[in-house]
């Protein structure tokens, strides 16, 4: 058995002339919470649809829970819970009736426990009291909760959640975050597609970043963050001396743009630590003091996931084509 819950090899999907997914090798380790990142239109949802057998790959292979997809779809999908591109429900039926129907569609779901399981799922997403209400009367957040409940009808080995906190209020977002943590704690692998980088940073162990159909970075969250450089920020009235000293240690000193927050004769000197063999930062501080630089402040900043994300996918606001 493979130690990857989801694996794709050279997966591509072409729509007409447009290559929506371009030769990606997805690797979601079992038991991980995998953050699937990418700007709108980068191919995340298409990839998810292929993983779940809704769309066929143009080229490449997909394995889910160690089995070939879509060949073993019948055996794989009962073990997978999914929220794909937002929830969907019949508006004229109650939330509970909707879940009963979704459960009836699963050939591996036992009818004898159906009511019990549906109630447990509603309870788990906080909809126990709204279960008999028609979905037409649900708020956006309630529909979202119902969608998550649909993914939890059976014990799942893999959960694929596309924007699970979309439309939720802050409490709901927190609850969903806790829910994902507890699901991961129970041993499920979770693939979490999201734009909310803070959410990914808080929840995920692994991250994959898509951009224009390609996987531009993939690995553990620590690895991905580690790829980014750390930088030091020095607050001092002796800007020039500090610069010289930092340069001596092989740091890339950033140009003084004057807008970095200096005030009252204090300048802010920023410098990036080199990738290879960076000097210990405490040595830097000591050397600065030794050189007679009056330190008003000294800090080391790890590049945030957001910095990393923007570095990988570009600054532009335009939707990818």
């Amino acid at each position: 058995m493979s130690d990857l819950a989801v694996r794709s090899d050279g997966l591509s999907k072409r729509f007409g002339r447009q290559l929506a997914v371009d030769n990606i090798d997805l690797a979601v380790p079992r038991g991980s919470v995998y953050g699937f990142l990418g700007p709108n239109g980068s191919g995340k949802t298409t990839t998810i649809r292929i993983i779940l057998g809704l769309a066929a790959a143009t080229t490449g292979r997909v394995h889910v829970l160690g089995q070939d997809m879509p060949g073993s779809l019948r055996h794989v999908l009962p073990r997978v819970g999914a929220l794909i591109e937002g929830p969907a429900a019949y508006p004229f039926m109650s939330g509970r009736a909707n879940l009963l129907r979704m459960d009836a569609a699963n050939p591996k779901a036992p009818a004898s426990t159906r009511n019990q399981r549906v109630d447990a799922a509603l309870d788990r997403v906080g909809l126990a009291h709204a279960g008999t209400k028609r979905v037409r009367a649900y708020s956006l957040g309630m529909k979202q909760r119902l969608g998550i409940a649909g993914a939890l009808l059976m014990p799942r080995d893999l959960l694929v959640l596309d924007e699970p906190t979309n439309g939720l209020d802050p409490q709901g977002t927190r609850e969903v975050r806790n829910l994902i943590r507890s699901l991961a704690g129970e041993g499920s692998t979770v693939v979490l597609a999201s734009h909310l980088l803070s959410e990914i940073e808080q929840l995920c162990t692994h991250v994959g970043v898509m951009h224009r159909g390609r996987m531009v970075a993939q690995g553990s969250l620590a690895d991905l963050r580690g790829l980014g450089r750390s930088r030091v920020r020095v607050l001092t009235p002796d800007g020039q001396m500090a610069r010289t000293e930092l340069l001596r240690f092989g740091l890339e000193v950033m140009a003084d743009d004057g807008a970095a927050g200096g005030r009252n004769g204090v300048t802010v000197v920023g410098a990036e630590l080199p990738d290879a063999d960076p000097p210990p930062v405490e040595d830097l501080a000591a050397a600065l003091v030794q050189a007679g630089v009056r330190l008003r402040g000294f800090e080391v900043q790890q590049e945030t996931l957001e910095d990393r994300f923007v570095a990988l996918t570009g600054e532009g606001f335009d939707v990818d084509q």
Binding site: L73, I84, P91, F92, R101, K108, D123, E186
Partner: protein, 290 residues
Amino acid sequence: MTSDVDSRSIAHAAPSRWAGALALLGSEFALLFRRRRTWAMLAALAAIPVLIAVVVSLSSQPPGPGEGPPFLDRVTQNGLFVSITALVVTIPLFLPLTVAVAAGDTIAGEAGTGTLRYLLVAPAGRGRLLLVKLASAAGFCVAATLSIVVAGSAIGAVLFPTGSVTLLSGDTIGAWEALGRTLLVAGYVALSLLGLAAVGVFISTLTVVPVGAMAATAVLAIVAQVLGALDQLAWLHPWLFSEHWLGFADLLRQPILWDSFAANALLQAGYVVVFGALAYGRFATKDVLS
């Protein structure tokens, strides 16, 4: 979200294949008959025989022989003919229209609301879902016909004499047998609609816009009848699904002539097989992106 119910301990043995298929079928019929639209269509269909019966009973002059739609002149003699007359009136347009709505909605409606993707990842199975949808469209054909017959028989029994009925062959049969014949005609009509229902389900797999599938199916029902009325196309007529739509008169003779029933059954079965296969060919490999 405070529940500590562990779903792992609840789920155990998976149901058999048949139990799973029946569960989905049951859910499909629940879906069909939970919609207000379904009941509105059935009520509208039921209103036709009521309308006919009330108009005939209120008019001072009973319709003379050969006046109005076929069988109308017999309504005053026996209430059971209300149902038959109503079926004759509704089968060219009204019944096919409602069947087009029900059948055109089957797959396209699910795609339109987005529930199709959730059914497929459940996983309902594409072939299984299509069969269940065909069954639901067929179920609607039966329900539509029955609603006309039940409403017609009820209003006929209230407003007109019941009892023995004179058949087209001149023989007389008792009231219960007459009711049996009426149900037989209803069965014939429901069967006649199956071909159209299969065409509707096929069209429904081509689009994510249910209204488009409904309209296209309804248009085809009209086109088939127009073609059926053109003598120049006589060679085509045996292949039109509407060819035997009005051919149930033979069921009202003594003894019953089963020829048209058999020909119709064969034709409709052919349509169901061909368009069911086309629908499967399309649906089994379709990218579901809605």
